[in-house]
Amino acid sequence: MSPIGATTSELLAHMERGEFSSVALCEAAFDRIAACDDRVGAFLHVDREAALQQAAQVDDKRRRGAPLGRLAGLPVAVKDVICTRGQPTTCASKMLEGFTPPYDAHVVSKLREADAVIIGKTNLDEFAMGSSTENSAYKTTRNPWNLACTPGGSSGGSAAAVAAGMVPLSLGSDTGGSIRQPAGFCGLVGMKPTYGRISRYGLIAYASSLDQIGPFAHDVAGAALLLEVLAGHDPRDSTSLPMPVPSYTAALEEPLKGLKIGVAVEHFVAGLDREVEAAVRQALDVYRCLGAEIREISLPHSKYAVAVYYTIAPSEASSNLARYDGVHYGHRAAQFENMIDMYCASRGEGFGKEVKRRIMLGAYALSAGYYDAYYLKGLKVRRLIRNDFDAAFAQCDLIASPVAPTPAFKIGELVNDPLAMYLSDIYTLSANLAGLPGVSIPAGFSSGGLPIGLQLLGPPLAEDRLLRAARMHERATDWHTRRPEVV
C-alpha cells in the first residue's frame, strides 16, 4: 500500500503494525514533494535532514516501546507564518527573507511533544493576506486538482500539500477564511476553531483579534486528532481560553441526535455559483436523510461582514506589521539617506502590493478624525454580527453554508481585482468576526472536476459538535476519498 494520500488513521495503524516506519513515511513524503512540488509549489522550505532524524527517533521510541505522542511519526507541514525554531519563517514575504526565529510557536511545541515530524514550511499569501496564494513573494501555489487554478488562500500551500498527497496533515491559519476556503477548493477537511481555542503564541500576526490556527486533513478524524493535540490554554497568549479541551476523537463516530441545522436566507443569493449551491443543497439532503432538521434562519448583518472585515483586519495589520522596519531584523534597504528614509525604503522594498494596500487601508481607518467613522463603527457592527449568530444559535445547533461562492478560480483571474477577491471570502469572514468555530468539508465536485466544500459553523467552543456533524456527512458520502492526479 502506498502512503500517498492515505489518511492519518490509516498511517498510524500501519506504523503501529510495523508496516511502515516513520522514516519510510517521511521519505515517501519527500519523494512526493520532489516528484510534484515543482508544479504545485506548496512548500517554501523543507528540512529533509532534520525531519528524517526526528522520524528515526520516533521509530526508535516505537521499537523500544517507549510512550509515543498522538501524532507519532506522522509528517506534518506548517504554514510559513508560524514560527519554527532554527527554521526559516518568512510569511512568504521578502521582508522576512532569511529570518530564523529563535523560538517555536506554541503549536509547533505541541506538534513536537506529540512526536509529529515537521516536514517543512508551506507557501501562503504574503503575511496571510489574500485568498489565492498568489500574493506570495516567492512562488504561486497551484491547485492539485487543476494546476491552472488557485488552491485558495491564504493557507494555499498547506492545503495543496495535503491534497497532493505530500503530507497527511498540515497547519494553516484562518483570519477571514484562510483555512476553510482552501480546504473547500482542495477537497479537504479544514477547521478554524473558536477564537482562543489554540494559542496564537508564535503565529505571526496579521489581524490579532481574528487570527486562529487550525488543521487540514483528508478526513474529519485527521482534523479532530490534530485539533486535539493543538487546542488548550497557553498562559503566553492572553486571548487563549482557559476551558478544558474535550476529546474530539472519542465521540466522533456517535451521530448527533435531533440535530437542527440552520440555513441563512442571506447565504443563497446572487453571485453564488449554481453548482456550488446544488452541492450545498445536496449536502443538506444528506443531513435530512440522517434525521436532521433543516431550519431557515437569518443573519441580517452578514451583508456588512466584508466591509467590517476590511476595516478591522487592515487596522490591526497596519499596527502588527509596523515592527518590520529594517531596524532589528528582516529586510533593510541597502541605500538610504537617513533614518526616516531607511524606514521608507526598507518597508517599500520588503512588502508586496497587497500588504501595502492593507497597511494603508488600516492606517487610514485608525487616523485621527477617521477612527470613529471606520474602526469604531467596525467594532460596533462586529458586535451586531455576533448578536445575529447568538440569536441564530438559539434556534439551531449548527449553520450550514457554502464555503465560497465558487469553486477554485483560475490563477490570475482575480488577482487584479481586489474587490472581487475580497468577496470570495464572503461566507467565511463572519465566523472570524464573531470568533466562532467553523469547518469546511468535502461536499462534491463541479462539472470541471473541482472540489466543492460545505461550511458548518457552530457556537463558541462547539468544535466537538461540528466535528461529529461533519463525520455524519462524511460517513454517508465518499467525496473525501477522492484524490487528485497531479500531472
Partner: protein, 496 residues
Amino acid sequence: MDYTVVIGLEVHVQLQTQSKIFCGCSAAYNPTQPNVQTCPVCLGLPGALPVMNRQAFELALKTALALNCEIASYTKWDRKQYYYPDLPKGYQISQYDCPFSKDGWLEIEMNAETGETRRIGIIRAHLEEDAGKNMHDESGGKTDSQVDLNRAGTPLLEIVSQPDLRSAAEARRYLEELRLLLTYLNVSDCNMQEGSLRCDANVNLHIHQDGKNIPTPIVEIKNLNSFRNVELAITCEIERQFEDWKATGRRLGDVPKETRGFDAQRGVTVGQRGKEEASDYRYFPDPDLAPVTVADELIEQLRSDLCEFPADRRKRLAVTWQLSDYDVRVIVDQGREFADYFEAAAQACGDGKQACNWLTQDILRELNERRLTIAQFPIRAEVLANLLGRIPARQITNKSAREVFLELLNDGGAGPITSSRIDEIIAARGLALVADTGALEQVITAVIDKNPKAVADFRGGKQAAVGALIGQVMREAKGADAQVVRELIIKALQSG
C-alpha cells in the same frame, strides 16, 4: 507687566518589579551589558505576545491610591504607534482613553515657615511599557547607532499633574514630594540619574494686561533629569516666554505646541526639531491583551496595606516628639529608612529632641561626607540610642558622646558595632563623668586660688566671670560635667 506662571508636570516612573511589564525578563537596570535582558516578547519578534505582569499593575494601583486617585473598575491597553529604533514593535503598549486611574491630588508644602500647604491636582496616572535606549557612538567619525533593549518593556507609570503649579520652585517641590511618596511606597527607586524618574514640564504664562489674562503658547520641556534642572529649566523658560511675549506678542494658539530641551550648561531651553508625524499616534485597543477589571476587594486590600504617607508622618512625628516643622521635614524628607531610624533611636533613648539633633546634624553630616545611605550607616539606631541615653544619665557629657560617636565610626573593626564598644571607648579615653566630687573640689579650689581677679569680679556682681573658672576646671578635670562644675564653683565662691 505682571503675569502668572502656569506649570504642569508629566512624570514617568519606572516601577520596581522583578520582571518587565509584558514578559518574564528581568527589569533590573543594566546599562553595561546591552540586550541581555531580552526575549522574543520585549524584542518585538514576529509572533510573540504580551502577558500583563500583575505585580506591576498592583504597584501602579497602590501609587494611584496614595495619590488619592479614582480607580477605574475597567481599564484597557492601547497601542501608541510611532516609528523609532528604540521601539521594536513600532508601537508602545500604553493606556489612552481609559487610564486605570484619574482625578487625584498630592499635597505639597508651600511655605516652610508657616507650614501652609496646597493640593496639586493629578489629571491621571496610567501604565505603559518603557522603550529601549538608542546609543550613538560618534567616536572616530563613526555614524553607527546602536540600540539596547534591556530597558524595553520596563513598567512605566506616567503621572500627569494639573497645570496647578505657579512657580519653578513649586514645580520642584511637587516633584520632590512625589519622589518621596514613591520611595515611601517602595514602588520605585526614583533614581533620576538612572532614568527611573523622568520629568517633562508644560509651561506658559498668563500675562495680565488691561484687566485680561492673555496666555502665551504652551511649551513642553522634555527630559529634565534632576530636581535642580527642573527648577532651572522652568525659570529660564519663564524668562524666555516673557521676553518672547514682549517681542512678538504671540499668544496661545498662534503657533503649534513647541517641544524644547534644556541646555544646563548654557542655562537656556532649546527648541527641538518636531518629531516627524508625531501628531497622530493612531491609538487603538491592543487586541493581544484582555481588558482589565479591578475588583473593589483588591482596591480595599491595597488601600489597607498602604504605608503611612510622608505628610502624615511629618504631622505625627511633630506631635509625638514635639519637634519643629523644620526638623520633621528634614527627617521625613530623607526617606523612609531615615525616618524609621529616627523613630527607633528616639523610642530607645526616650528623647526625640536629642535624637533629632544628632540625626539632623551629626549623622547627616557623616552620611554626606562618607557618601553612605542610612541603611549603610555602621551605627545602628539602638547603639546610637544607647550612647545618647548616657548623656541625661550623667555618664558622659554631650561633648564626650560626640567623641565616642566619631570613634565608633572610625573604628572600622569587623562585625557590627555594639553598645559594649561604647563602654570600651569611654574607659580607654577616660571620658566617664567625674562623679567623685572630692577630686573635683580639689581642682576647683586650686583654680580659685590662681584666679583672684575673676573671683573678685564675681563677688563684685559679674556673674559672667564664672565662665573663665569653669573653662579652666574643665581643662584640668577631663570628663567632668560642666553643669556640676558650675554648681560647685558657685557654691565655693559664695561660701568663701
